[in-house]
């Protein structure tokens, strides 16, 4: 660690005269891993977008390697050696790994044609340097999420990035993959690359970072060496108040079985999945990414066609061929893919919140929407979930990820379902919003909801669920209950470490 790589002096940013970042002065040291934490809307993403040229600051100045610089567009940042690895990857799925690594800076042979051989060779070298085993000719669409991320990092390294900004890199990774990522980050650091690491997962920040900066409401509230701060302190500084216990107390489920699934099978995806969920129960589906948990949810919703198996509601077989049937049977699904299948970014808060339940807001044979009823219901959700939006008419594209997630959840529970399948309900959501979502799920369960919780976060599964089914490669590996729900057991089943032993 020597010297300052990048510094900002009094950086501020306003959107239509609303300040989202105010007077931020930071110094990023050469060769460090700097953690930046803060709640949704604290200004982390805005600051990173300024550093990578997506936004231009409203005030303040930037210095790179001691010299004042102006970063007006992403290309300027690229020239300086600043690379941003966004949450949503910028990879072209139809192209190969090496095509993507060299996208925009292709190597050419004489005559202007692409020099595929050189690109392939260089990609192989880079991947080897990073210690990742991905064939360079593979198409991106055939890669796992973790592998895609490695390709993104490889792309940044190929540009000889001096500063690598990683925005929530671990949200989509399994613990094993996170380990690999951390090893890679340490290797990059050893070779002199500076890394900014943005995350909601404080444990990871504590594990990997050298220093941590905390943003709250657009201002820098603290910067400290990681050794001098505990995880609890980090959370408190972020939120600005004492945090009470994260998970609410578990309610004992009632006797009545609401939904039962018997022998659910979709060839190649899930096999012979059976379970029951009772009133007031939260059943967890745990497992690694790709274990088939989302597929179970999508099959119950009628999005995927099952070849065998049945779904019973209150003991009676339910005919579910599409999501409409499922919603009519009072089963609702909070999808894991917020942007792709959860919310409409061009729709307002109200329009999203009532999208599933719109029929119940319609009057007369003309199906006219009762706008007042719609607004009142949405207002109720906004209060209950503490959704931060300028107004009910604000389009979702202007909301932070956490608030979008809350609207998505509001949309899912507005019809008053008796079964809720919540798929990664807290993905990309900050600590206090997470707590709110946990409380809400718990409260709904207490009111009699049967809930299926799919999550890749062990703590969430352990803290929330009455019972847990662990899946691997489309099969249920075992069911855990009570004190049996712990990290070791879940990992044991999820990785198949016990196979052949038992």
């Amino acid at each position: 660690m020597s010297g300052v790589l990048l510094s900002t002096v009094g950086i501020g940013k306003e959107f239509s005269s609303v300040p989202v970042l105010a007077n931020v002065t930071i110094e990023i040291l050469s060769g460090e891993i700097l953690g930046i934490i803060g709640e949704n809307g604290a200004g982390k993403s805005t600051l990173m977008k300024i550093l990578s040229g997506v936004y231009t600051p409203s005030s303040g100045s930037l210095f790179f390697e001691g010299k004042p610089v102006v970063i007006n567009e992403p290309l300027d940042a690229k020239r300086l050696g600043i690379s941003l690895i966004p949450q949503e990857f910028n990879l072209i799925k139809e192209l190969t790994v090496y095509d993507n690594v060299f996208l925009g800076s292709e190597l050419r042979a004489r005559g202007g044609l692409l020099d595929t051989r050189a690109m392939k060779r260089r990609t192989t070298e880079l991947l080897a340097e990073l210690g990742v085993e991905i064939p360079p000719e593979e198409k991106i669409e055939n890669l796992s999420t973790a592998q895609k991320q490695m390709v993104e990092i490889c792309k940044a390294v190929s540009l000889e990035a001096k500063l690598l900004i990683m925005d929530e890199p671990t949200t989509v990774l399994t613990p094993y993959e996170i380990d690999i990522l951390f090893k890679l980050m340490r290797r990059l650091k050893a070779s002199g690359t500076t890394i900014i690491y943005i995350s909601h997962k404080l444990k990871e920040v504590k594990a990997i970072c050298d220093r941590v900066m905390i943003l709250r409401d657009g201002e820098l509230v603290d910067t400290r060496p990681i050794a001098d701060i505990t995880i609890t302190e980090m959370a408190q500084r972020m939120v600005g108040r004492e945090l009470s216990q994260v998970f609410p107390e578990k309610n004992p489920p009632e006797a009545e079985v609401v939904i039962e699934v018997r022998g659910l099978t979709v060839p190649g995806l899930i096999e012979d999945i059976s379970f029951q969920v009772r009133r007031g129960e939260i059943l967890g589906l745990a497992g690694l990414v790709g274990a088939g948990r989302t597929e179970v949810a999508e099959t119950i919703m009628g999005i995927r066609k099952r070849t065998s198996g049945e779904i019973l509601l209150h003991g009676k077989p339910a005919r579910i061929a599409n999501p409409r049937d499922a919603v009519r049977s009072s089963i609702n699904y909070l999808s894991e893919d917020r942007q792709g299948t959860g919310i409409l970014t061009s729709f307002s808060v109200v329009q999203n919140a009532t999208l599933v339940s719109l029929e119940s807001y319609c009057r007369s044979i003309l199906d006219l929407i009762d706008r007042r009823a719609e607004r009142e219901a949405t207002l109720g959700h906004m209060k209950r979930f503490s959704i931060k939006a300028r107004s009910l008419e604000t389009r979702l594209e202007f909301l932070s990820g956490g608030n979008q997630q809350k609207v998505s959840l509001a949309k899912t529970i507005d019809p008053g379902p008796s079964v809720l399948i919540a798929d990664e309900p807290t993905r990309g959501v900050d600590v206090s919003a997470k707590q709110e979502i946990y409380r809400l799920l718990s409260a709904l369960a207490r009111e009699g909801l049967a809930c299926i919780l799919i999550s890749s976060e062990q703590e969430e599964i352990i803290g929330m669920c009455n019972r847990v089914i662990v899946m691997k490669e489309g099969r249920a590996m075992g069911t855990l209950e009570g004190a049996g729900i712990n990290e070791e057991e879940i990992m044991f089943l999820a990785t198949g470490a016990g196979e052949g032993v038992r």
Binding site: R324, S335, L344, E359, L368
Partner: protein, 329 residues
């Protein structure tokens, strides 16, 4: 309401928040109107203004259906051919009943009824291919555009069909208050379509499907039915327009009627502020878009610019309108 929370800096803040994109077509209309009034003394004559409205009413109506289809992120290229096809069939049946001593009343009912029925079925057919057949709307309607025109030419022997009913012609030429019938029909349809789009469940679903059909599917919306209905509505509106157009000349030309209507209707929708990518749209904007095109034509006529150049101006205006929308988005 919102202005207060932002810590109002008065008029400038208000101007900043004014949704230009939403009203850009209205602003364009006012500007164009003012320029036209300044350039030609004939422009402001009531006769001329009514004439502009009448001329644009046929494509403006079709534009309303087109807007629904475009909001679902689709497109309907077959509307122009369909105008010719269903009015050809309608007039042939009308004449057949007349010459078969069926009486004029019955002839009108059969002729108009058949035209509407064919529009309904044709729209349904387009919608069916798009939804069940899972084909791209552009391809489907490019195909049916050729099919409908060819059927019209075949049935009508590539000629012109004149209606034998004088009452039929009276419908299209009649004036109610100051406006002729087609203008009233256009306004009425626009009012109804505007309510459907902005006030009803179907309208909300229409935008949802166009905005992101996966989200709509997950939200328990019958995506296919929403699309099917949009194409069918378009087919029926095309029939209404076709009937009114046929009454205007009391005849239909199998080769010329409706030529270029697909482009005019799409242009009206786009100029009116509906993005070609769908997800939202404006009904009254579409009417304004059609009128803008009408005024441009009218002005070029009044200024005796060669009619061959009118296409150039129209094309540039369409490109310009989309360019401006891009900048604001």
């Amino acid at each position: 309401m919102e202005g207060a929370t932002a810590g109002g800096t008065g008029v400038s803040a208000l101007l900043k928040r004014f949704d230009y994109q939403k009203y850009s077509s209205f602003i364009a209309l006012i500007v164009l109107f003012a320029i036209s009034a300044a350039l030609s003394p004939f422009f402001l004559r009531p006769g001329n203004l009514v004439n502009i409205l009448t001329q644009v009413s046929y494509t403006a109506m079709i534009g309303l259906g087109q807007a629904f289809v475009i909001i679902t992120a689709g497109i309907d290229l077959s509307v122009g051919s369909l105008v010719a096809f269903n009015s050809t069939v309608g007039l042939i049946l009308l004449n057949a009943v007349m010459s078969g001593n069926g009486g004029e009343g019955l002839a009108l009912v059969v002729g108009i009824g058949a035209t509407l029925a064919i529009g309904f079925v044709s729209g349904l057919f387009n919608g069916f291919l798009v939804t069940r057949g899972k084909l791209a709307p552009f391809i489907v309607t490019l195909g049916t555009m050729a099919v409908f025109r060819s059927l019209a030419l075949f049935i009508g022997d590539a000629g012109e069909i004149t209606s034998q009913s004088q009452t039929f012609a009276a419908i299209g030429l009649a004036n109610i208050l100051i406006f002729p019938v087609p203008v009233w029909v256009m306004l009425l349809l626009a009012a109804v379509m505007d309510i459907i789009l902005n006030r009803t469940r179907y309208g909300r679903y229409l935008s949802a499907v166009g905005s992101n059909s996966r989200v709509a599917l997950f939200a328990a919306i019958n995506v296919n039915r929403v699309k099917l209905v949009a194409y069918t509505i378009t087919g029926v509106i095309v029939s209404i327009s076709a009937i009114l157009l046929a009454t205007r000349f009391n005849a239909v030309s199998t080769s010329n009627t409706g030529v270029g209507y697909e482009l005019d209707s799409i242009a009206a929708v786009i100029i009116g502020g509906t993005p070609i990518t769908g997800g939202r749209g404006s009904i009254w904007g579409t009417i304004v878009g059609a009128i803008v095109l009408g005024i441009i034509n009218n002005m070029l006529n009044l200024l005796s610019v060669s009619p061959y150049l009118q296409g150039t101006v129209k094309g540039l205006v369409i490109i310009g309108a989309v360019y401006i929308q891009r900048q604001r988005a």
